[in-house]
């Protein structure tokens, strides 16, 4: 079984811990006075962050856990404050005294630590990486995040779905459409309605365009990190073109507020002209880049994530598919009907992830052509019913999981598990055979989100 998410919510007289696997969901009720639960991190290593987060948010003790450090609460976070509990209503927090964080390190003669971040020397989001180094070889890496934790789960409590939408679509700009589609599915489940096929296809087009933009940016930045800058110049031009198409369709370069239920006219001609050009450009790009031996010397056998490791860690998205695991939320009736093809590679290295991305761009082009439609019928939404809803969407990073509880017409608990949350935890496994100079390349080849991860 693959672990998808593990999170807690507060009920009137107990905490409920929900563990979502791909085949089943387990719900456990635990006492509120002395909350504690048994860890599953020995069987599912990716549960570690989920459990640490749970314990930070609700003060739930994790029995049997070998890592009980705080995850979201950093050095100066006040003690014994559990922000996601319903009785926590403060708007401001005072800084507490500094208590040091014990990094996972390897000791020994001539082993030293390299700390990178949280503020980086490039245009990147904040995050900390702690390396244990033996010379230039990486022995261990600890990823420490949640610097940009905006407490979105708490902010959304008590808001209606309509009020929540602008916040949810701004959790992570690169995945905005995917978050909106997740929310759309939850709204549809809550109102017990079906989406008109034409609208569903239009939304799928937007999702594919978002994926294309993201993958294009990546296939530029990955060679750039291996010292091949002209690929970035070329690919960033392509991704700018794609972004402008997104803007022409949705009036926003990132597609904020794009997933709506109204009747729309789809500018087919413009999109198809762009697709034809992109197809040619990608073909040129692929021929060009495949033929640069010094680049592939860096790509091949660098940052290998073994298929076995990817499976135990429940990796998702491009990272999993490059290691030969066939996971994609898009493998369903709707997408298969439109000739969706899964892109996988076996070697699990940077090169494999690069090739998967290239393949996915080509797949997305084909999919958009299949989805193409002239008239898009809108629909009227009825009132959302109370209940617990969940949904899945595939974005350029992997499978996105969202769950929303609605009570009295407002959100009681919002939980989203970004694909990065799982994949960040598998990142350290890719480092073991490489030198620290390869780290930026490996990190970029996974291209994980910080904003979606930190929530």
């Amino acid at each position: 079984m693959r672990l998808i998410a593990r999170y807690a919510k507060e009920k009137s007289d107990s905490f409920e811990v929900i563990t979502v696997f791909d085949k089943k969901t387990i719900r456990e009720n635990i006492d509120k006075k002395n909350p504690s639960i048994k860890s599953i991190s020995k069987t599912y290593p990716s549960a570690i962050w989920f459990e640490r987060k749970m314990s930070d948010d609700f003060g739930i003790m994790i029995e049997d856990a070998f890592d009980t450090r705080e995850l979201i609460h950093h050095e100066r976070f006040p003690k014994n404050i559990f922000p996601l509990r319903k009785d926590f209503t403060k708007k401001e927090l005072e800084y507490d005294e500094y208590k040091p964080y014990n990094y996972e390190t390897i000791g020994g003669d001539s082993v030293f630590q390299v700390a990178i971040g949280p503020i980086h020397a490039g245009i990147i989001e904040p995050g900390h990486f702690q390396f244990s180094q033996s010379g230039e070889r990486m022995l261990h890496l600890e990823v420490r995040h949640f610097y940009k934790n905006r407490a979105i789960e708490k902010i959304l409590e008590g808001k209606t779905l309509n009020q929540a939408k602008p916040i949810i679509e701004r959790i992570s700009a690169n995945e905005s459409i995917a978050y909106q589609i997740c929310l759309r599915d939850i709204i549809l489940k809550a109102t017990n309605q079906e989406l008109p096929n034409s609208l569903k296809r239009y939304h799928a087009i937007l999702l594919e365009i978002e994926m294309i933009i993201h993958h294009l940016t990546d296939i530029g930045f990955i060679p750039n990190d291996a010292g091949f800058g002209s690929a970035l110049a070329y690919a960033s031009k392509l991704s700018e073109d794609a972004r402008r198409i997104m803007q022409s369709l949705t009036n926003h370069r990132f597609g904020f507020d794009a997933i709506k239920f109204e009747t729309i006219i789809f500018d087919k001609l413009n999109v198809f002209r762009w697709l034809d050009k992109l197809e040619k450009d990608i073909k040129f790009f692929e021929d060009w880049i495949s033929d640069i031996p010094s680049l592939w010397d860096r790509f091949d056998t660098t940052g290998v994530l073994e298929s076995e490791d990817a499976k135990t860690n429940g990796a998702v998205g491009v990272v999993a598919r490059a290691s030969g695991i066939e996971i994609d939320t898009r493998v369903d009736e709707f997408y298969l009907k439109h000739k969706f093809k899964l892109a996988t590679q076996k070697s699990g290295d940077v090169g494999a992830r690069f090739k998967v991305r290239l393949e996915e761009i080509k797949n997305s082009i084909k999919l958009i052509r299949e989805f193409s439609i002239y008239n898009i019928d809108g629909m009227k939404l009825s009132k959302a019913k109370d209940g617990e809803y969940e949904s899945f969407t595939e974005n350029s990073l992997g499978e996105l999981y969202m769950s929303i509880d609605i009570k009295d017409g407002v959100i009681e608990r919002f939980f989203a598990r970004d694909p990065s949350f799982i994949n960040w935890q598998a990142l350290h496994l890719m480092m073991l055979k490489d030198i620290i100079a390869d780290f930026p390349l490996i990190n970029k080849s996974c291209d994980l989100s910080y904003a979606g991860n930190d929530l």
């Binding site: 976070f77 800084y95 949280p118 245009i123 990147i124 610097y147 940009k148 905006r150 991704s239």
Partner: protein
Amino acid sequence: MIKFWTKRFKSNILTENLEFDNMVDSGSCNGCEAECNALSNPYYNLEKLGIYFVASPRHADVMLLSGLMTFNMTPYRCF
């Protein structure tokens, strides 16, 4: 060389080009970062105008801070 510096001190210009910082990101949605990266694509080509993104605020004339100041990032503020 001395002439060069005297002239620049007189005219109050300390650096030759306007240099941006690497951008300090606190609690943004990564949209600002993506757009700042897009500034160096061939369409906008920001460096043509003599504006660079540099690695440290120490080298910079202007610092961009994106997003809201989060609780966990505030202790790292450099201003």
